[in-house]
Symmetry: C2
Subunit: 345 residues, 2 copies
């Protein structure tokens, strides 16, 4: 099948997206793939598949490759004498800003290009951790207690130590700190506010059980990956996570009861349904005293969480046949006509 892998973007996770795309080149071998790179200035390049190596981008070699623009239904390569379109379904693989905040989704919606990835509303609810909390409250999904702190705000935190500081709108553990006592707080806040003007403060739960599960909806039915219990140091730092984005070996299923597995999947479905259709997402859960708490939604997980799926290629094919179609509103001029005739002009 044909797919245009869209990666890069103006984001702190720019490099990670490149690593994800290189990994998918391997995992989707046999597919007819084009690689479309969005550079930090929002210029699109068509990347030679043989040059899909990390240093192509770090050395700026992509700048010698053809630029692409957008037109209704496709990416387009224009020269003085020719015009070639790339209209295959896009796999949005831009992690972080641009890709996960709804920008790319809206761009593809506007130009009527089919894509695998979260729609605009799903992006807003997963990108900003505050809005993920709103979603949990509204849909009756448990999550960790939290406080919101803005950069210019002075207030006493109510969260007991140890606590964890997270920029509201960043993934991949960037700007995240665990704070064990008040002496560590100011430095952690400064690090967080380097990346965002809003941070979330949550209690840090020592030794919490963590489980990840990925999934998607196709033909009206949910498909789940295996449940993984991720290995952890205290928590994943950015460099460790970075290596994670290049994961391609299938992992072992977590050793959990079928009851807990069912609970995790039921929570996943509650989050996914009527919001994330069209996307393959990974949800990271905590289990505390038998309660399942949502920790994070990854609407474009690193290398599409390929390592959690027994049949990753089959999953992508299934999903790409079930993408939401936008019902385009029909515009009309009936009121203008009726009002013009009432006015006699």
């Amino acid at each position: 099948m044909k797919l245009n892998i869209l990666f890069g973007g103006t984001s702190f996770e720019h490099e990670i997206s490149i690593v994800s795309a290189i990994t998918l080149k391997e995992k989707l071998s046999g597919f007819d793939l084009n690689f479309i790179f969005c550079d930090q200035d929002h210029i699109f390049y068509l990347i030679d598949p043989l040059k899909m190596r990390a240093n192509t981008f770090s050395k700026g070699e992509h700048k010698k490759m053809p630029q692409l623009g957008l037109t209704n239904g496709a990416f387009v390569q224009k020269t003085l004498f020719s015009r070639k379109t790339y209209s295959a379904t896009v796999l949005n693989l831009i992690h972080g800003a641009d890709g996960e905040d709804g920008t790319i989704a809206a761009l593809l919606d506007f130009f009527g290009i089919d894509y695998i990835g979260p729609r605009v509303d799903a992006s807003v609810f997963s990108y900003d951790k505050r809005y993920t909390k709103y979603l949990c409250e509204a849909r009756g999904i448990k999550s960790v207690a939290y406080e919101v702190l803005a950069a210019n705000e002075h207030k006493d935190l109510k969260t007991p130590y140890p606590l964890i500081i997270k920029p509201a709108r960043l993934g991949s553990s960037i700007g995240v700190s665990i704070v064990r006592d008040e002496a560590q707080l100011d430095y952690a806040l400064d690090s967080g506010f380097e990346y965002d003007s809003v941070i979330l403060v949550e209690p840090f739960i020592e030794g919490v059980k963590e489980y990840n599960v990925a999934g998607f909806m196709a033909e009206g039915k949910m498909y789940f990956s295996i449940v993984e219990e991720p290995q952890k140091n205290e928590f994943l730092d950015f460099e460790k996570k970075y290596m994670d984005f290049s994961r391609s070996e299938q992992v072992l299923k977590a050793d959990i009861s079928s009851e807990l597995e069912a609970k995790l999947k039921a929570n996943f479905e509650k989050i996914y349904t009527n919001l994330f259709e069209g996307a393959l997402i990974r949800c990271d859960f905590f289990v505390v005293n038998g309660d399942v708490l949502l920790n994070e939604i990854n609407p474009i997980p690193g290398s599409m969480a390929n390592y959690l799926f027994e049949d990753f290629k089959g999953s992508i094919e299934m999903l790409s046949r079930s993408l939401p179609k936008t019902k385009k509103a029909k515009t009309s001029y009936e009121y203008i006509h009726s009002i013009s005739s009432a006015k006699g002009k």
Copy 2:
């Protein structure tokens, strides 16, 4: 001051946006305005200001005018021998889909064009009435009780009669019905589902007091319009509302206590702050037994609610000097470099 008025869009409110733009041409006379029309196929046209009449569009005369594209920082008009850019601040005046659902916001964000209007997240929370309810819950703002019903769903409604049916994602009273008893229900549901696959059901409150107030933030301070008590029939039907979009005469202040006025403004500020910055919005409130309930957020009100402001031109100027600047994430290749050198390549 210079402004590019962007109007039209692929939306049921396409016509209304044209009426709004024509009204603003009059209300912002003296400004240096360009008019950029987005047609139903998402093609942009630069409209001759002398042709800013409703029938220019209903007759398709805009198709003879120059097409515009998007480039970093501006709309652009390209011919074989020239390239002219339009880089002034955009006033997003596309009502309904495209303009209010986050699509246009993301497009302008992506191309780095400054604009007056809701950002992507603010759009998602105001466009879909379900998400407006989530926002109210999360921010402690009262609103009318509601149930959600999907097109393929069969469930007994708990809302008592009379009730009101609203498509989740449409404004301007399109697809809205008041239902007095069960006999009227099926027809009302069918009308609602013509426009959206999800509808909201709310109790219809007879003779409720309704108040509208518009406002915006500039230089860190809230500016409010006068509070209006809108005239109503039973409720505004589409044709009546349509005429409303061409309103340009200033209205009278509602005769309310300063206490109620303060309450309305406090609720407005709770909704606006940390979400709607960059936009001039109108909030429509109900007052029931002294309680202020949010009915609806209009993130791009008809003709920008000019008729509620004593100094409309001054307000637009102030707002345009206080637009949010996106902090562009800096991309780097430090991890790719460090990993490449660790691998010895």
